[in-house]
């Protein structure tokens, strides 16, 4: 523990926080542009060339807006809730490594903020804290719509966290460690010299469950019931305005970036890519590109699918995703044991094949349920 180490931590933490907050600003622009192109529009293009100053204009507007506090709101919690929401969203990615370690000017530099040996557990626990901010924001506003939004988000986020956690478990089993660095290094290299050893190849259904569950976790369409404009006027942030609203908004978009970074690290090989062992500076570029692609996926899904009904959301979470992810954990464990037993890593192919079969059964069962006559009549 010397001065230089503390300074390095401070600089890395500061840089990463700035990247997340600047990324939030430009994610809003990215989303508006991508949605606009999907809808045959141009999107914001007035503030600066291609609208690149639009986030700054938005920020200035939000800062100067009047902040209202409802008369019968719980003032302390009303003020605290946006902060409780935004802090976990910023600190959750502390364990995500964004490049391999390398020597620079004779100094050994690690491109991550914290190396915790239970990194995945840290992510899960911090992700659960974000629920408090939202439910407190909904409750303290003294507004029935906000209350409903808060309650919905609690139920939804807690339900989907289980499927999310179980989809992490299969990745943990494959890597044999909960440390993020081990998970990333387990995904280095290639099979047959061209298929990358990413966990999305070994566990495609687990990745799919992760992607679906994260949509529910960050309250994105088609799982944006907590902030359903048509039913709840805006959900938990109905009564928020000005910078407090901006904080809630910031938390939502920062969570999107964070969850994409985590997904890219756990399932899509992290900073791994061609030539990354020779040129370590490629690592951050690779993970950045992967985050951008995953974010586009979220925007794309938002532009495509309508919001699903609340009871179907809960039924899907508990009756489909939870059993399916449990089955995937079982299949992954069996595949690993088989490979160890016969000392032949090719037996790992059991995992994707069996997972796809199980997912096919799940799809067929959902389809049969949805086509049942009494379900259709309602």
């Amino acid at each position: 523990m010397n001065f230089l180490l503390v300074l390095e931590w401070l600089i890395k933490g500061f840089v990463w926080a700035l990247v997340l907050l600047g990324g939030f600003a430009y994610l809003t622009l990215y989303e508006r542009k991508a949605l606009a192109r999907i809808q045959s529009r141009i999107g914001p293009n007035r503030a600066g060339p291609w609208g690149i100053l639009q986030p700054i204009a938005d920020a200035v507007k939000l800062i100067f807006k009047e902040e209202l506090t409802p008369a019968k709101a719980d003032k302390l919690i009303f003020t605290l809730a946006p902060i409780i929401t935004v802090v976990p969203a910023v600190i959750i990615t502390a364990v995500v490594p964004w490049g391999p370690s390398f020597e620079i000017f004779g100094y050994h530099l690690n491109l991550y903020i914290a190396d915790i040996n239970v990194g995945v557990l840290y992510i899960m626990s911090i992700a659960s804290i974000a629920v408090y901010g939202i439910v407190l924001a909904g409750w303290s506003s003294n507004n029935k719509y906000a209350m409903m939004g808060g309650l919905r988000s609690t139920a939804q986020m807690i339900s989907y966290e289980i499927a999310l956690g179980l989809s992490f478990v299969s990745a943990i089993l494959l890597a044999g460690s909960m440390r993020m660095l081990d998970i990333v290094s387990a995904q280095g290299g290639y099979w047959f010299h061209f298929i990358p050893k990413w966990f999305v190849v070994l566990q495609p259904i687990g990745t799919g469950i992760f992607l679906i569950a994260t949509l529910a976790e960050v309250n994105r369409a088609p799982f944006d019931m907590p902030e359903a404009e048509q039913e709840l006027t805006a959900g938990y942030h109905t009564e928020y305005s000005g910078m407090k609203f901006a904080l809630l908004f910031m938390a939502e978009y920062t969570k999107m970036i964070a969850i994409s970074a985590i997904g890219a690290t756990i399932f899509f090989g992290g900073y791994n890519g061609p030539f990354v062992d020779k040129f370590p500076w490629l690592g951050p570029i690779y993970i950045f590109v992967k985050i951008i692609i995953l974010l586009f996926g979220m925007i794309w899904v938002r532009a495509t699918f309508p919001r699903i009904r609340y009871d179907r959301l809960m039924a899907f979470g508990w009756k489909v995703l939870l059993p399916l992810s449990l089955a995937l954990v079982f299949i992954t464990a069996v595949g690993i044991i088989l490979a160890q037993l016969f000392d032949n890593s090719r037996l790992l192919v059991v995992i994707p094949v069996a997972s796809l079969l199980v997912a096919g059964v799940a799809v067929a069962l959902i389809d049969r349920t949805l086509r049942r006559k009494d379900y259709a009549r309602r």
Binding site: I42, T304, F305, G360, A364, D367, R368
Partner: protein, 172 residues
């Protein structure tokens, strides 16, 4: 038992939205680019002139009578050969349209016996004050055509006696 179809249907939805990204945006960059209006568009009124520069409007106030919103106010005065504004005896010395009342129905256009008032293609009618909503004659009247004189004109006696132009085969 359908296993593949539900997934394919989801993928088809995603493909449809992704394909839309390749389409050209339909946006018109409004203040820089302007969309041409249709031929029968009803925009701001224009008071027309004859080729010789005389006003078509004869101040009969039929438009004001036809107006369902009571947006038009006309006051007429006598023409003389020394100071002639329009053919015939009288011309509109005051012609005002209140754009806050106008509903752009086009009845004034139908009522006009000389086809003097026409709903044009101008649709940028913003103003910042209620008083500016009343468009006087100077704002409505068409500019004088080239190679002709502005009104009032000095004319030969006995030429412009008919206020409504003669039509060979009036159909409408």
């Amino acid at each position: 038992m359908r296993v593949v179809e539900p997934v394919v249907e989801l993928a088809r939805g995603l493909w449809t939205t992704l394909r839309m990204m390749l389409d050209k945006p339909v946006t018109i960059q409004y203040p820089e680019q302007k969309k041409l209006v249709k031929a029968r568009f009803r925009g701001r009124h224009v008071l027309k002139r004859y080729e010789n520069g005389l006003e078509k409007c004869i101040g009969c106030a039929l438009c004001a009578a036809a107006c369902p919103a009571d947006a038009i106010f006309v006051e007429s005065s006598e023409n003389t050969d020394q100071e002639r504004y329009s053919p015939g005896d009288r011309y509109a010395s005051t012609y005002e349209i209140n754009m806050l009342r106008c509903i752009f129905c086009g009845f004034c256009e139908d009522a006009c016996p000389t086809e003097a008032i026409v709903l044009g293609d101008q649709y940028e009618l913003s103003f910042t004050d209620r008083r500016q909503s009343i468009y006087p004659k100077e704002m409505l009247i068409e500019p004088v055509p080239a190679d002709s004189n502005p009104t009032p004109q000095k004319t030969e006696p006995g030429v412009y006696t008919r206020s409504v132009p003669e039509m060979k085969d009036p159909k409408d």
